[in-house]
């Protein structure tokens, strides 16, 4: 310990001033940083209702939810069969098809590739559907299967399933 009692006092004052200054600066930064997060009106655009009554088996539609495309596909028997018979060991991001759908013919996915955010092809009849008959991302070559699971390419995860529920047999609410 130093001989001069004032020196200790000075150290304490200096340290507490710096600490208080740092905390104050950090506190003032918060509102600035927070202002960059999504605003209230952006958050309010949270849900979309879709009429799915007119979709035939084997058809898909794309709707917009939170600015992103959502794929709604009425799957054929073969596609469901294909999705359910895959070995778990063949999957990069293992998930059961039954956990990814509420009704087995209705597959609902966020149409954003989990690699770098492009929209995969496969919605139109004329689109290439990739090697696993689901979707194919043209940006960096990721292949998804008939359950929207990643099978080949750089994407790390399956296509997301958005939160949704059936309001009745022909209407769903996404979000």
């Amino acid at each position: 310990m130093s001989e001069n009692p004032n020196e200790k006092r000075r150290d304490f004052l200096q340290l507490s001033t710096i600490t208080l200054g740092a905390v104050g600066t950090a506190a003032f930064m918060w509102p600035f940083l927070k202002s960059m997060n999504p605003a209230e009106d952006t958050l309010a655009l949270g849900s979309t209702e879709v009429d799915i009554g007119s979709i035939e088996e084997g058809q898909s539609i794309t709707v917009k939810w939170r600015g992103k495309p959502v794929f709604i596909r009425k799957r054929t028997k073969e596609e469901i069969e294909e999705a359910r018979t895959v070995e778990f060991t063949d999957l990069k991001d293992p998930a059961k098809d039954v956990d990814r759908v509420q009704k087995e013919e209705w597959l609902i996915l966020v149409g954003v590739c989990t690699h770098l955010g492009c929209v995969p092809l496969g919605q139109k009849m004329s689109d290439t559907k990739g090697e696993f008959n689901g979707w194919y991302c043209p940006c960096h070559g990721s292949h998804y299967d008939t359950s929207g699971r990643i099978r080949k390419g750089p994407a790390p995860n399956n296509l997301d399933v958005p939160p949704y529920n059936f309001l009745n047999d022909t209407t769903i609410k996404i979000g």
Partner: protein, 409 residues
Amino acid sequence: MNHSSEPKKYKNPILNWIEFRLPIISYFEKEYGEYPMPKNCNYFWSFGALASILLIVMIISGIFIAMNYTPHTDMAFDSVERIMRDVNYGWLLRYIHSNGAAFFFIIVYIHMIRGMYYGSYKYPRELNWILGVFIYLLMMATSFLGYTLPWGQMSYWGATVITNLFSVIPFVGEGLKTWLLGDYTVGNATLNRFFALHYVLPFVILGIVGLHVAAVHVHGSNNPDGIDIKSKKDTVSFFPYMLLKDTLAVCVLGVLISAVIFFGPNIMAEVDNYIPADPLVTPAHIVPNWYLAPFYAILRAIPDKLGGVALMFASILVLFVLPWLDRSDVRSCNYRPLYKWFMILFFVNFFVLGYVGLKPAEGLYLLIARLGLVYYFGFFFIISPFIHLIEKTKELPASISDVYLGMTK
């Protein structure tokens, strides 16, 4: 009031008045008048001046475009078209700005190649090199932000892909991405902030350029022989010799950039960016601007999301430590018979990476990208640190004036 005790250094009393209160006159006299330049410097030493002038051109043309641009997702694309068709000379301002950006990168790449080839990054100019890499990083960020503003298909999807790079960071990635975008996807909030940042970053660059120039003036410029200035015989003063030389270089640049602006303003543009942004349709082939393509090639060469992103950032950050990776005492590659060829191969490799970065990531292109990636990092982590163990460097000349006498004989 002019007190009689004030020093009378100059004939002009106004200069004396200013000098006594703010010694800026003598500063400019020293740094841009008498400043000693090695007399063996070649035209590669003009590219710093060219880059500074282009920065000013970019800032001025940008300010005037901003007066007619609207940063809103519904209006941005149309406001750019209005600049092109209705605003007086708007087409000229925009073509100066878009091609100026490409030329800015060409100039800076040549400036960096010069620094690497002649070893300008070595003692005692390491900090100068680091400031330069900061400028380069800020340039990449600024050009990316600017590319988003016309709100065409390439703008939108380029912004989507690049901001998604941040989502690979474990745990905080998704939150960070949403924070950067201000929305769940690239949207109006994103466009607004990108415009704000695109406007302010060039002034940050200008500030760092000031430090970069001040730092090089402390120990003086390097030269093609990479040896220190030993006497006054080794140098010429900046004014008028270097000023005239740089002026000629500026004239040549002016001719080249005008040729592109007036006769091929879209040769470096992507046609897809003349289609308005559509969040539901991704273009078949997303490409970055050519000057960022080498890093895009590295990103796509790795079949793993986190790995690709990590290597891409590493390929830029490794530049910061180059002064410590290269262990040789000899600066200039003119005296390093082995390293010289690895260095030239590095430059070639960089532009090959850029070429494959603009092509689809498959087949032969992917293979070339992977080989290029291996050489890129091999150059920094194997060749640069260890080549001095086997390389026999040529004997350095005793002084710059000796070289100069040898040249005129």
